[in-house]
């Protein structure tokens, strides 16, 4: 015979199970975590986010990037430097862009380089265009189909969920990927500015060592 205590225990377990089924089906409390709101675009067209407008204006490969101080050593890419020029303007209030990254057709993500001396997390003023250049060191066999992504939330710690994110197809074709992998170009690295930035191709000289 089942005693009253056992019946009470069964009742509690049953109630919890039914409640679990209910909360699984109905989003009683939405705590977010639904992923970012992706706004897609192409090179040369503006992507409108809730907090900023973003336009990729140029993409080019490089083997070397030289820091602004001319006596510092140039940085050679492990693969290829993907140099992405971007126009940014905040829509309602100044915004700090936390990350820019590339993603390949397999979903693998490539973070912007710190040692390149290019832009990392530019501060963007409201209504004023900020010009930024982001640089990524990407393996030579993974250039085709890359997309550029940028957001104000820190992507490295999963803070881009439930917020706008710009996703721009860099239109790197198979032919581009083949020729870009062999590039020997060297540019002077730049980060960001309120003045338009022009990439300056340079000639490197060897040090005595």
């Amino acid at each position: 015979m089942i005693g009253p205590r056992a019946l009470s225990t069964l009742a509690v377990v049953a109630t919890v199970a039914v409640a679990q089924q209910f909360t699984d089906q109905v989003p009683v409390v939405d705590l977010g975590g639904g992923g970012p709101f992706v706004e897609s675009g192409e090179v040369g067209s503006e992507v409108h986010l809730s907090y900023a407008d973003v336009e990729v204006t140029d993409v080019r490969p490089a083997q070397y990037l030289a820091p602004p101080i001319s006596t510092d050593l140039a940085r050679v890419a492990g693969g290829v430097w993907m140099v992405v020029s971007v126009r940014l303007s905040a829509t309602t209030q100044p915004v700090r862009i936390q990350n820019a990254w590339l993603v390949d057709p397999h979903g693998r993500e490539y973070m912007a380089s710190t040692r390149s001396s290019c832009a990392l997390n530019p501060r963007v003023a409201t209504g004023v265009v900020t010009y930024a250049v982001f640089c990524f060191d990407v393996p030579t066999d993974r250039l085709e189909g890359l997309r550029f992504r940028i957001a104000r939330g820190d992507h490295t710690v999963g803070r881009t969920d439930d917020d706008d994110l710009a996703d721009v197809d860099l239109a790197v074709s198979a032919r581009d990927a083949q020729t870009w992998a062999d590039t020997t170009k060297a540019y002077l690295a730049v980060d960001y500015s309120l003045e338009p930035l022009e990439l300056q191709e340079i000639t490197l000289t060897e040090t005595g060592s």
Partner: protein, 215 residues
Amino acid sequence: MTDREVVTGSSSRRGRVRDFVSNRPNPQKLGVLGAALVLVTAPFGGLQSVAEEKTQPLELGQRIDIGPFYVTLEKVTQVSDLEPAVSPDEEGTKLVVLKVVVVNHSDRAEFSNLVRDAIGADHSGLVPWETNQGIPLKVFNFDDATAYNEYINPGQTYTLALVFQQDPGTDLDLVTFAVHGYSFREVDPGTLEPNTWILDSPPLAEGHVPIEVKP
């Protein structure tokens, strides 16, 4: 009729169990409790076997999977200077350079510090750097001699130079190196930070390797 005969059947069973348990020595009780806990945690992996990580003898050219990266120690060299990358804080102090090839074999960009922090040494004659004394190894890109401290993107390969300062009187035959691995933690329960790598112990590989001496 005895007292034992007048108690109900269920009470009698419960009493016998209670007597049986109370008569067990404490080590047996603890053992049974431990076994019960393992069974209770079975749905969460409590019965999964613990992988036995045996420390391998360290060798030059041996590719070691430390978690996000393959690390291959190619060469160890003692030099007096490593210009233009770095010089010792004081003249006479030696520099030991570990040339390692690093491959990010994962699908995510991972920070290069994971390589630096996976390397240990014993009887190394370590002389701390004047700046950042708690970090014995400075890291440079072998191909351009610049400091290297950033994300290594997936699929990317770098040759890095890990450099520490060494007392010139150190017996190089006694120096041993260790390479540790990492375990992936999806969410750190302390900080709630996602995707962290936790350094494992003991090391994956450890031992003495030849140290080439250059003036």
